[in-house]
């Protein structure tokens, strides 16, 4: 038995049975990270000492019989989550020495269960990117092929879980930032419904789209981790006060009679042949499992990317105004005056893609352009949301590819931002609609890179997509493959 190959659920059993201690688990991961992370670069901060201390506390709790679902389980967090006493950089120069004074609500929730936080994970700076190449601390590499990107922006989270550097990770998804890297790294990524998980303490990229979710080895673990972080938080006005169901309880229900919709607009030219084949194979599997396949239409899909890049960047241009060098973060000491201080600090602190999006968003909100860009985008967003509601009147879940291609190579799209933006074409509409979706492994390309399947659910129907995903996982072996690494 290799400790770092075990899932959360398997570890839970072994910790509960005293076959393993939390300290042993933490040590196994420490060794694994030390052995592999110079290649993968999934971590920005590795929590050697604090993880060991947390593991000891978890062992004490286990000994005392005070066992929560996550007690002693090694979990890593994207460096977008505030973690008290730890560096929280958002992969940006501007926060490179920023130590958070408080915990994000989701961090507080997993800490309360005495999970062991193994470290803070690499990402695209301020979650802006689809390849993890926009990190101020070096690109993360895809464990399936180190010349390829892991996807982004939660690329560190997906690569970390795929390379067995943590049993699970927390990511955030604004336009596909959990699902697309999960797909590229052959792991399971879940983006919950907007409002399902608290955003308090999560560094904001685009507030109306950001949502926290788990990245795990399999679907059961996804349910387990979602269970721990979901639920209303009075500190986040946009979190919804609606009961959280028991996700494990319905996981194994049969799919007979389930209506699975295939949006016509998602199976078009530009979709990689390997991806198409894998997704069609998945459709066949669902038929065998008793699901009814229905063709549906999401007519406004082609506007989603443009709509997203107006709304997300508009919000970001305002969200990132606080990084001004006044209270924390990078501040130039060369400035002649106040305006100079702002300009130099921000010029030095932000990377190129962040600057590009701040400019784009500032433009979209500027007087004279607001109506034509921001307001128009909001109207389109309403139509896209309506598309989903109409489709969900006919089906229970939607089945689509996650990304048009498997992971591309490092540097392949860095000079073509538009091409990069299009890699989120299948994930972005879900964020605009505010509903839930997940990515799970459904095959491999000829080159041996993982391919993901996207299941999109009705708002607050995470249980349905988890169950749908679990049935597929039980019927297939894709999730059992590990990178040779």
């Amino acid at each position: 038995m290799t400790i770092y190959d075990l899932t959360l659920a398997e570890l839970r059993t072994k910790l509960d049975n005293r076959e393993l201690s939390a300290v042993e688990v933490a040590e196994a991961y420490r060794a694994r990270i030390a052995a592999t992370d110079q290649d993968v670069n999934a971590y920005i901060t590795v929590c050697d000492e604090s993880a060991m201390a947390e593991a000891k506390l978890a062992d004490q709790a286990l000994a005392a019989g005070e066992i929560a679902p996550l007690t002693g389980l090694p979990i890593a967090a994207k460096d977008i989550f505030n973690t008290a006493g730890l560096k929280t950089t958002c992969a940006s120069r501007i926060l490179e020495n920023y130590i958070a004074p408080y915990d994000a609500t989701v961090i507080a929730r997993i800490k309360e269960q005495k999970a062991v936080i193994t470290g803070k994970l690499n990402m695209d700076e301020f979650a802006m990117g689809s390849s993890n190449e926009n990190s101020a601390f070096g690109a993360t590499r895809n464990p399936w092929n180190l010349n390829h990107v892991p996807g982004g922006s939660s690329g560190g989270s997906a690569a970390c879980v795929a390379s067995r550097q943590a049993a699970a990770a927390l990511g955030t998804d604004t336009g596909g930032s959990i699902r697309q890297p999960a797909s590229h790294c052959g792991v399971v990524g879940l983006k919950p419904t907007y409002g399902r998980v608290s955003r308090y303490g999560v560094i904001a990229y685009a507030s109306s789209l950001d949502q926290v979710g788990p990245i795990t080895r399999d679907v059961r673990d996804s349910a387990l981790l979602l269970q721990a972080i979901a639920g209303h938080d009075p500190a986040d006005s946009t979190s919804i006060d609606t009961p959280v169901p028991d996700y494990q309880a319905t996981l194994t229900q049969e799919l007979t009679g389930l209506k699975v919709g295939l949006p016509a607009e998602y199976f078009i030219d530009g979709l990689d042949e390997d991806v198409r084949r894998a997704v069609e194979q998945a459709v066949a599997t669902y038929k065998e499992l008793g699901a009814e396949i229905v063709e549906v239409s999401l007519p406004h899909t082609s506007y989603a990317v443009a709509c997203y890049y107006l709304i997300a960047t508009a919000e970001a241009s305002s969200n990132l105004a606080r990084y001004d060098g006044v209270r924390y973060g990078v501040r130039t000491d060369q400035a002649e005056n106040l305006i100079d201080m702002y300009m130099q600090s921000r010029a030095a602190g932000f990377g190129a893609e962040v600057k590009r999006r701040i400019m784009l968003g500032t433009y979209a909100l500027s007087s004279g352009y607001y109506d034509a860009y921001y307001l128009k985008a909001q109207k389109v967003r309403t139509m896209i949301r309506q598309d989903f509601l109409d489709a969900f009147a006919k089906v229970d879940v939607l089945l689509t590819p996650v990304a048009p291609t498997p992971a591309f190579t490092i540097g392949e799209k860095t000079n073509d931002p538009l091409q990069m933006y299009l890699s989120d074409i299948y994930t972005i509409p879900v964020n605009l609609a505010g509903t839930c979706a997940m990515s799970l492994p459904c095959g491999f390309s000829a080159a041996g890179l993982p391919i993901g399947l996207q299941l999109i659910g009705k708002p607050f129907e995470e249980a349905t997509i988890l169950r749908t995903a679990h049935a597929f996982e039980q019927a297939t072996e894709w999730h059992k493959r590990k990178p040779e690494f």
């Binding site: 505030n82 006005s237 946009t238 209270r327 305006i339 702002y342 500027s366």
Partner: protein, 483 residues
């Protein structure tokens, strides 16, 4: 020959609310604490922190809206006003732009000559205040600035009027009305010096008869009623001079300097703002249903205008008295409580406006701390009304009540201050005084009627002020004429 110009003024009033905690976090709003001691991740604008709306702020906004005849929006939204400044931790201020909480209100003001004029209130919206910059003034600290964020995120109401005022006096009158209302409602302490109640004035001029408005200047930084008048008058003069000399007024922000009484332009980078307002995605739309509005409405106190009207119409007070007594909520409450226990409203008014206010001033006491309760004052006034004591003795009793906190009846009894109304006893004193002053009696009888005052004074003196002055007067005349 100067062409006649009409002045047009609109006011933007910022009232800092008296909630215990800030508008979007749980930090205290107490004034004067150690810099940055009343802060948290939210009001410091730390990465990841999110705002949560303080319900009491909404309640205060509804109150103010109802008191100024506004429509309360069933659904309103918060917006971000984006600009960079070191006292603004998030790089944006959370305010309201489209869909403010209150709209379409009005407030009547009284013009000279008793006429009343209606000033439109465009909107009232909620927003957060910024922090404060402290600029180094010692040689070592020169050129450095420190930021205190204790005030950041404290709640403000911005009350925006229509450009309905036509003179500085009208503007002052309107401003005082709004000031009185927010203080009455208890939503703002009204302190101008501390900046709890601030005002910007949009001022323009146009030739009489011209329909469209002239280009306006926004006057900022005015922290007293007097300065507002000065600032507006100076600005009107400046604009007229400019136009007369062939110049053009430019739309700009001007700062009032209370030392020179002048306004000066603050044109420059800080003014060239495009605030890029957009709905704040961190806050959900604010929904206010009728039952909430009704609950707030039923908690509203009687407002100054209504009170004044009642004092005049129901209690028969002169306009001046009604105005003075209604001007302050606690004073009015004191008066109302006194009236319910006393026989005469006018006497209550006279005593409160005279003795009570004088004493408050003398002893630097607040109306809430007066040692004589309204019931006690009513008792004193009744003793004067029923002739137990004279008005003059009443003042002595009042003084003793203030000092000791004892009741009027008790003091009159123990100090033996009861008025002498026994005819026989007064007659004795009258006879004594007549006998002792034969010269004056002769003069009186010779036609010097005025001397009656002299005799009354003597008798009162002899009675140690306790004789009923009316009876003394009557008996004196009777005796003198009878002689």
């Amino acid at each position: 020959m100067t062409q006649p110009y009409e002045t047009v003024i609109g006011l933007e009033i910022h009232a800092q609310l008296t909630t215990n905690t800030k508008i979007f976090c749980g930090c205290s709003t107490e004034f004067g604490k150690t810099p940055n001691s009343q802060t948290c991740p939210v009001c410091l604008g730390l990465p990841g922190a999110l705002p949560v709306l303080n319900r009491q702020v909404v309640e205060f906004a509804i109150k103010t809206g109802l008191a100024t005849n506004c429509q309360i929006a069933p659904r309103s939204i918060f917006a971000r006003k984006n600009y960079f400044y070191p006292d603004l931790p998030k790089g944006y201020q959370i305010s309201q732009f489209e869909l403010p909480v209150c709209e379409h209100g009005w407030q009547d003001i009284e013009l000279e000559g008793g006429e009343s004029k209606r000033i439109g209130i465009t909107r009232i919206h909620m927003e957060e205040d910024a922090g404060k910059l402290i600029h180094g003034d010692t040689p070592e600290a020169l050129g450095t600035s420190l930021v205190d964020l204790n005030r950041a995120c404290t709640p403000l109401l911005e009350i925006v009027s229509e450009p309905d005022m036509r003179s500085a006096d009208e503007a002052i009158s309107y401003l005082k009305k709004i000031h009185q209302i927010v203080v009455y409602l208890g939503v703002c302490n009204g302190n101008l010096e501390e900046g709890s109640f601030r005002c910007d004035a949009n001022v323009s001029v146009r030739p009489y008869g011209q329909a469209e408005l002239g280009t306006r200047a926004e006057l900022k930084n005015i922290n007293s009623f007097r300065f507002i008048k000065e600032a507006i008058e100076h600005e009107v003069e400046r604009q007229i001079d400019l136009i007369e000399s062939g110049g053009k007024v430019v739309q700009e922000t001007r700062l009032f300097d209370s030392n020179t009484g002048m306004t000066r332009s603050m044109r420059g980078k800080e003014e060239a703002h495009d605030y890029r307002y957009f709905p704040d995605p961190d806050l959900v739309p604010l929904v206010i249903d009728d039952s909430w509005i009704d609950a707030v409405r039923s908690s509203l106190p009687e407002l100054p205008d209504a009170k004044r009207k009642r004092f005049i119409e129901k209690l028969g007070l002169p306009e001046y008295d009604a105005e003075v007594l209604a001007s302050d909520r606690l004073l009015a409450n004191y008066f109302d409580a006194c009236v319910t226990h006393a026989k005469e409203a006018k006497a209550c008014a006279n005593w409160i406006m005279g003795e009570v206010l004088r004493k408050l001033k003398e002893t630097d006491t607040l109306i809430g701390e007066v040692p004589i309760s309204p019931v006690m004052l009513a008792e004193l006034l009744d003793r004067i009304a029923d002739n137990t004591i004279s008005g003059k003795i009443g003042k002595t009793v009042f003084e003793k009540m203030w000092q000791t906190g004892r009741g009027a009846d008790e003091l009159i009894e123990s100090e033996g201050l009861k008025q002498v109304t026994d005819t026989g006893a007064i007659e004795t004193l009258v006879d004594e005084v007549i006998a002792a002053n034969p010269d004056q009696v002769a003069e009186y009888l010779g036609g010097k009627d005025k001397l009656i005052g002299f005799f009354v004074g003597k008798v009162m003196q002899a009675s140690q002020g306790k004789a009923n002055p009316g009876m003394v007067n009557q008996l004196l005349i009777k005796r003198l004429k009878g002689n």
